[in-house]
Amino acid sequence: MNAPSDTGLLASASDPAARSAADPLLTWPAEGLARIPFQVYNDPAIADAEQQRLFRGDIWNLICLEVEIPQPGDYRTNVIGDTPVVAIRGNDGVVRVFVNRCAHRGSMLCLDKSGNRKDFTCIYHNWVYDLEGSLQSIAFRRGIRGQGGLPDDFDPSKHGLKQLRVDIIGALVFASFSETVPPVREWLGERMAWNVDRVVGRPVRIIGGYTQVMHNNWKLYIENVKDAYHAGLLHLFFTRFGLNRLSMDGAVEVSERGGHHLSWSKMHNDHTEGTEYSDGKLRSMKDFDLEDKRLLQSWVEHEDGITHMIQTIFPNVIIQQIQNSLAVRLLVPRGTDECELQWWIIGYADDTEAQMQTRILQSNLVGPAGLVSLEDGVIGSIVQRTTLQDPDRAGVVEMGGRTVESQKGRVSETGVRGFWQEWRQKMGV
């Protein structure tokens, strides 16, 4: 196999957003991680810089679940930031990820979300690449009757598809533009990899999927997921039925660089006495009751007794265990003020019929129509609108202190600060 090389479309990726020293991309407030300047949600130059410094930088990007491409030739398209990519299983069984773009003039190669193919034949001028990304044939390479065609010294081996690094952990296929980021397991660290193994470390089955479009900068949604503080307050459904209250045993854990996090709780260890919950002061304790409680039936899926576990993998992947509702989510920016959240709803290959029925009922809790989580689809846009004209104002993030570290209890924004710590490091601001 030739080492597929890029045709120069990506090479010398100059940083379009680099501003002069006198005009830096962003000046972070003096308070440090205790503030989030509103500019990060609205500035097109920052959104551009994220494409190069973040999504094409030293991180791993989730592309798909490996079960989506079981056979040689099976492919699944997606995007890394704004860049279309395709994951495909070769005839040798190896999963490769390519930029989904012909090396001739840039036409997209795979237009469908998924499928199976013997090779990559470009629809525009019929150049053909094998599943390893090498250019195999060029229509009319020698021209017709001596007229036209490519120069004799044209070297097809220099015009393969742009191939990315690939690493697979559990069910998840990751790819990276970076030659230097360590392998996924190492990049995650031991504790974060532990939960990936815990949720998707055995054969999974995809049992649902959809995309949720939100009218806010992608980082407002990621902050929301990392904000353990809001979960027991904004979402009444959770608190009223004791699914996830801030008074339960739990913790927020952040990774060493700050960007990955775990937030977990154990619903069978709740202590509301002497909290604002038991005073009945909070909106989220307002009385109401379900007629049919089957939605709340669950079994304790893990010996560790953790019934609610949300993990983020920096910068834009979420692994969800809400009782027996399991999902993987990928957040993709669409400019400064829109983003899409791709959901894979999963179960395990060896689920019993009864377990599957429980997962189906609990699926009502999550997603765009989720009784628990539908608020998360709109809260970001409610914030976004207020930040537009005040780029130099800032959000306050001091719950649980002003620094980044794992904390017992979840009345904390440490996960949010952790995200911004790693984001600033990657973005150089």
Binding site: G208, L361, E375
Partner: protein
Amino acid sequence: MPILSKDNTHLLDPAFQQIITAAAALVADCVGAVDDERFDEWSTFFTDDCRYDITTREARLKGWPIGLMHCAGAAMLRDRIMSMRHANIFEAHHYRHMVSATRLAPGTNRAPDFASGVRVHTNFGVTRIMANGDTTFFGSGFFDDLIVATPGGLRFHERTVVLDSSQVDTLIVVPF
């Protein structure tokens, strides 16, 4: 009991027409209740042991058991309405449905009869109108309904709302 022909002649059979017209009226009344926000009435269009799902074309093609919403029984429909009114936080909005003519579901090979259930399809488009007037086309798809006769009149025993797109804007809290 109407006969079902291969050459469309049953369309002229008054007994057949009566069934289709009744089914279409039920579909129209139910979306009317949603659009007018008469949500207490909504669950009364369904049998007590009904099944109501919102899913997508893609999920149906892939055979995924999970869509966007799943209610097993009218009590869960009422719980959805209660949650919408008393628990969920969202920006005020309402829907307006545009529905097509109601047709017998493809593959129906028995003469339709409400005693044993009539399966019909009806296309819809839905606009979502926010409190400030912003109006967007929220989605299109079809209702896949099984309608049965009960002592209380015609009811939906099964309703699957099949959305054409797998992409949902922001959230779904008002039922379709």
